[in-house]
Amino acid sequence: MATDLQEKPVVLIDPTANVDPQHATLARRLPDLAGSGIAIVNALNDPDRSNGDIILGRISEILLASGATTVTTIRKHPSAQDMEAGLLDRIASSSNGVVIIEGD
C-alpha cells in the first residue's frame, strides 16, 4: 500500500500489553531427594487422560530413582474448578516437595 500516505511519520499507541513478570517466589529447594516424600498434583483439565498419567508415571520413576522415598499422585478436579479445600495443607503436611502439572 503506497498511495495517499502521509508525509509525516505517524505514531501509534501499541494496544498490546507489557507482560507482567511472575511475582511468585520460588520455594526453598531440597538439597537432594534422599529420603523425601514428593507429591505430584495432576491438575490437567481432564486428569483422566492417559497421556497425563504416562508423563506423571515417568516423573514418578525419575523421582524414586533419584532418592525420593515416596511419591504420591493426587488428582485435582478440572482446572475450571477451585482446588478442594484443605488439599494444599494436606500436601504441605505430608510432603517435602510438590510437582504440579497443568494443561488442557
Binding site: 509525516k8 501509534l12 481432564d46 486428569p47
Partner: protein, 353 residues
Amino acid sequence: MESPQTASQRKLPRGVDPEEFCHDQGWTDGLPVVAPTPARVKAMLATVERDPQELLGVFLPLRGQVTVEKIAANAVLAGCLPEHFPVVLTAISCLAAQEDRLGIFLTTIHGDSPLLIINGPVVKESSFNAGSNVFGPGCRANATVGRAISLAVRNIALGPPGKYDEVTFAHPGKYSYCIAEYEEASPWAPFHVDRGFKETESTVTVVGAQAPLNVADMVSTNPDSLLTTIADAMAIRGSYNAYFGGETLVVLSPTHARILADGGLSKADVQQALFEQARRPLKDLRGGGSFGFGNVLRWPDWVDTSDDEFMVPIAHRPEDVLILVAGGRIGSYSCVVFCFHGFPSITLPIERG
C-alpha cells in the same frame, strides 16, 4: 515540538499505511481497524477520570498488564466513539474482577466468549441496540464495544490464534458480542435491577457465552406450552451445562415475555419453572456428552445417580437461569445461550468522568 515517544508508542516508518501496520503487527481480528493514534486514544481517555497508566489487572494466559491506556487503544482499534469508552472500561473491569478464572475461560477449547449485556440509561444515550437484530450487525455501539473487548482480550490476554488460543471452533460472537436489554418492552424489572442496581444506573454484565441458540415457538399462547419448548432447548446432552452446571441465559423476545407475563408469571416464576423443567433423565446423559469428563460431575447432591430415570437438572438453582428481554417486537422466538461454568456472570456499574 513533538512530544517524546513513550514505551507504548510505536513510530511508523515514513510511507507505511497505519492500518496495514496494525494488521502486520497482529493487532487485528482480520477486519479493518482504526489506527490508534495518540490523539484518538487521548479522546477516549478524556471520557473517564482515570490515570492512563492505572493497572486494572494482569490477564492470563499472557500475563498482560491491563492499563486504562491499553484498553483505550483497543477501543480506538475497534472503531468505538469516545462516549463508548466508559462502557468498554467497565466490561474490562468485569473480567478483571475474576482475573483468576480468566486463564481457563479464555483458553478453553470449548469456545466461550465474553458476552456483554448493557442496561440502564446508557442504552439510549449511546444508541445501543436492544431490539430487532440484537445479536446481529448494524449498530455501531453494539458492534464496536463488543469488538473492543474481543480485541483487548486478544492483544492483552490471549495473543493471536495458535499461541494460547487453540479453540476447536469458536463462534461468530468472538468478533463482537454485545447486546442491550429492551427494557421498555419487558413486562418485568430490568436485569440490572434484579441485581441490586437502580433503574437509573447504567451497568455492564459479562457472561462467558456460547453462540445463541434460536428457539422458535410460533404456536404457544400460554406459559406452560411455551416454557416446555424453551426448557426442551436447554436440556441438550451436548452442552457442558448438562454435566457441569453453570448459568444459562434465556433471552426472551418481547412477544414471548408478554405471553409469560400475561399468564401471571413473574420473572422469578419463569426461572423456577425452567429450573424444574429443563431436565433430562440420567440414562440419557450417561455414557455420552461430557459424562465423567475429568472424572467429575458437578450435579447437586440431591441427584440420585443410582436411578436411571432421575431427571437431572440443567440449571442447578433457579437463579442460574438468567432471564433477559431483547430482540424484535415481532417474532415468536427466544434464545438460549449456554454459559461457561468456570466464569460466573458479573455486573458492574458504568462510571463516567
